[in-house]
């Protein structure tokens, strides 16, 4: 009997630091180039109008302003709970068949479309019903969970498999050996997803579902800043205390009660669903004409060409320009933020304030931050850039701060700015770029969606098409957005591989 020899691992040479610097400089250069084309004007007459009232509101939150706060939070949690549970379960099942190419493609497609776009699509099909909100969260989350769960399962240690007796069923082996090895990682990731789900659920309120965003928008429109501030503060507390109320034993209990808390909605009309799928989303030139007729295809060609020319192309340019600027500003802000929570730079009390600051801005969804800045400055790229980079900068800054605490320094290390530049930053830089490139695709997805607020990215054209009840056009733009996202995702993976940046950061940063 001959056993095959193991092949040795190929020798992996560490990347040259210069290539990381070169890539960084290229990205900064691209951002500066984009900046030249970006519209960052302030369009409001007085940008700081109402700022005093807003600040007063922040410091005088009115928790009794409305009985709606409790209801808003309960609904936000319920939607997040059912949506994430659905996504996690579907994702878990899909992870088992993730090796099929068609499953991988399907998952990457559903997750490249933002929750809000899904919500807009389901709104057309199902109306303003709880199912719309649940599917809007559940569907993209299923795609994300499928990918991460399957990667986690692939990385599991398999030493124990050799002790499993011959002839055990695949199912038994999976649950006794493969799953327990990675269970804790799956639980941690799903908890993190639930936190994201809370933010997604809150934002769904902006399109009319009865979650936090709905009440927040109302409060802002009425200039009721004390109420808005109370809503946001309770939301932060909710997120900061997740680990205390999301106990494994309570999950079953929540799942039983959550469906009753979603509230009612319009009745679902089967006719609407059928019409949406068979008529509304079919490109106009192909509707009601024979598909065998050459002239309808010629019309379709012109329809596509004119949409690309007049709307999709400017939308793509704006989306890319905004993404690249926001990405680089996010990078700079992360580098500025991480010392705020690092033991290497601040004492206990300083770090506490740093933590509070980062928690607040990373718990506020980009969409809500952008909405607030938009109130000041009007619809240009400026509020979007600030919102995207603050939120993402806080997330990456938080992760880098935690990494910096694990660095051990020699006793006579440099201090302050020298410490930062010569000891800490060089050690963290690879990690930093890895985090940033993982966020790239997330930033682009958010950039597109901010169009709903009136910034001329792809989301703007989706929203306008929906307002005109031209669902075929809306879907066309959504598919373009998704393709753009998938493209950025592969580019990011290519760069990470070229720079040999760590693969494992994804679980806490995507």
């Amino acid at each position: 009997m001959v056993k095959s020899f193991y092949k040795p691992d190929p020798v992996i040479s560490r990347p040259q630091n210069t290539s990381m610097v070169r890539v960084s400089l290229i990205f900064v250069g691209v951002a500066l180039f984009c900046f030249y084309f970006a519209d960052i004007s302030i369009t409001t007459h007085d940008p700081w109008l109402e700022i005093d009232r807003m600040i007063a509101g922040v410091f005088a939150p009115d928790f009794l302003a409305t009985s709606a706060i409790g209801d808003a939070l309960l609904k936000t949690v319920s939607f997040a709970f059912i949506g994430v549970a659905m996504g996690a379960i579907a994702g878990f099942l899909l992870a088992q068949i993730f090796h099929f190419r068609v499953v991988r493609l399907l998952c990457s497609f559903v997750r490249s479309i933002h929750e809000l776009f899904w919500a807009l699509i389901f709104l057309q099909m199902l109306g303003l019903t709880p199912i719309t909100g649940i599917l809007a969260i559940g569907l993209p989350y299923a795609g994300i969970c499928a990918k991460v769960y399957s990667e986690t399962l692939d990385e599991a240690q398999t030493n124990a498999l050799q002790a499993v007796p011959y002839g055990s069923s695949i199912i038994s082996t999976f649950f006794y050996v493969r799953l327990p090895e990675v269970w804790i990682h799956i639980v941690n990731y799903t908890t993190y997803r639930f936190e994201c789900g809370l933010r997604s659920s809150a934002v769904l309120g902006f399109i009319g579902l009865p979650t936090l965003g709905f009440y927040l928008e109302t409060a802002f429109n009425e200039g009721n800043y004390s109420e808005a501030s109370a809503l946001l503060i309770t939301f932060y507390i909710l997120i900061a205390t997740i680990r205390y109320w999301l106990r494994p034993k309570l999950i079953g209990f929540y799942l039983i009660f959550a469906p009753f808390l979603l509230g009612g909605g319009a009745d679902i009309q089967v006719g609407n669903i059928a019409r949406f799928l068979t008529v509304d989303i079919v490109p106009a030139p192909l509707r009601e004409s024979s598909l065998l007729d050459a002239s309808s295809w010629i019309d379709f060609f012109y329809w596509t060409a004119s949409l690309i020319n007049s709307q999709a192309f400017p939308g793509i340019i704006a989306t890319v320009v905004l993404t690249q600027i926001a990405l680089v500003v996010t990078g700079f802000l992360s580098l500025a933020f991480f010392p705020l929570i690092s033991e290497k730079f601040l004492g206990k009390y300083g770090r506490m304030i740093g933590h509070l600051f980062l928690v607040v801005i990373r718990s506020t969804p980009e969409f809500i931050l952008a909405y607030i800045f938009l109130q000041f400055w009007g619809p240009s790229m400026l509020p979007a850039i600030v919102a995207l980079s603050l939120h993402n900068g806080a997330i990456i800054g938080h992760l880098m701060g935690r990494y910096s605490n694990e660095i051990s320094l020699r006793p006579d290390h440099a201090k302050a700015i020298d410490l930062y530049g010569f000891e800490i930053l060089p050690r963290l830089y690879g990690q930093f770029l890895a985090f940033l490139f993982y966020r790239w695709e997330v930033i682009m997805r958010e950039t597109a969606i901010l169009g709903i607020l009136g910034i001329a990215t792809l989301g703007f054209y989706v929203d306008s098409a929906l307002a005109d009840i031209r669902l075929d056009r809306a879907l066309f733009f959504i598919v373009i957005t998704a393709s753009l996202n998938i493209g950025i995702d592969s580019l990011s993976r290519y760069i990470r591989n070229r720079l040999r940046l760590s693969r494992t950061v994804q679980h806490n940063s995507s």
Binding site: M1, K3, G167
Partner: protein, 216 residues
């Protein structure tokens, strides 16, 4: 029972056994001895891949699922004898019937207080005893083990060896303790310099006869 004819065995390139011919009959109790790295594990894995469904296995790294309890790790030894549904039921709620069967084994090897603790929380010796209980629970005629008593004290090692001899008719173990090997085996195979350089019945063998295996 096992048979190798002019086989070349390689494992991670470091230790390679070339041109090995060996036959082990059922009913034999074989101890593989030799310095660590000599190729004992390589030989064992060759046996194991020949035996597949006929032998219980204690790998060197024990093959425990450290997030599962001692009970469940032992139960894994018989995953193939029950339906998947029953296995899952037993995973969620340990069935009284299975606990009843596993209890005497853990009582004998002193693990009863830890029955429902995850093995990751146990000491190395306790983990080793868990892996042995799993093999005992799996049963069958034969067992293959890679230094299965390396992490327990002398008294426990004797107890384990007695138990194994009682339960299994054919035993093939890599052993580091030469005295123990002489005491419990019927045949000793010595490995040195990538070859079998000693293969004798244990009868009338003493420790001195094996010293040369550990000299350079």
């Amino acid at each position: 029972m096992f048979q190798l004819i002019n086989a070349n065995l390689g494992y991670k390139q470091s230790s390679v056994l070339t041109n090995i011919s060996l036959k082990i009959n059922s009913g034999e109790r074989v101890a593989l001895v030799g310095e660590s790295g000599a190729g004992k594990s390589t030989l064992l894995s060759a046996f194991q891949s020949q035996m597949k469904n006929k032998a219980a296995l204690i790998p060197q790294d024990l093959g425990l699922v450290n997030n599962l309890s001692v009970f469940h790790n032992i139960y894994i030894g018989r995953l193939n004898s029950y339906s998947s549904v029953y296995n899952l039921l037993n995973l969620a709620w340990p069935q009284r019937r299975e606990v009843g069967k596993i209890k005497p084994l853990v009582e004998r090897l002193g693990l009863v207080e830890n029955l429902f603790k995850p093995t990751g929380e146990l000491s190395g010796g306790q983990q080793q005893r868990t892996a042995i209980c799993r093999a005992l629970f799996q049963g069958g005629d034969a067992i293959i083990g890679d230094e299965p008593v390396s992490a327990v004290d002398k008294h426990m090692a004797n107890l384990i060896m007695e138990t194994l001899v009682e339960k299994f008719t054919t035993i093939v173990l890599a052993m580091h303790d030469v005295d123990l090997a002489i005491k419990f085996s019927t045949r000793i195979i010595g490995i040195k310099d990538s070859a079998i350089c000693f293969d004798q019945s244990t009868m009338n063998l003493t420790r001195k006869d094996l010293d040369f295996l550990y000299k350079h």
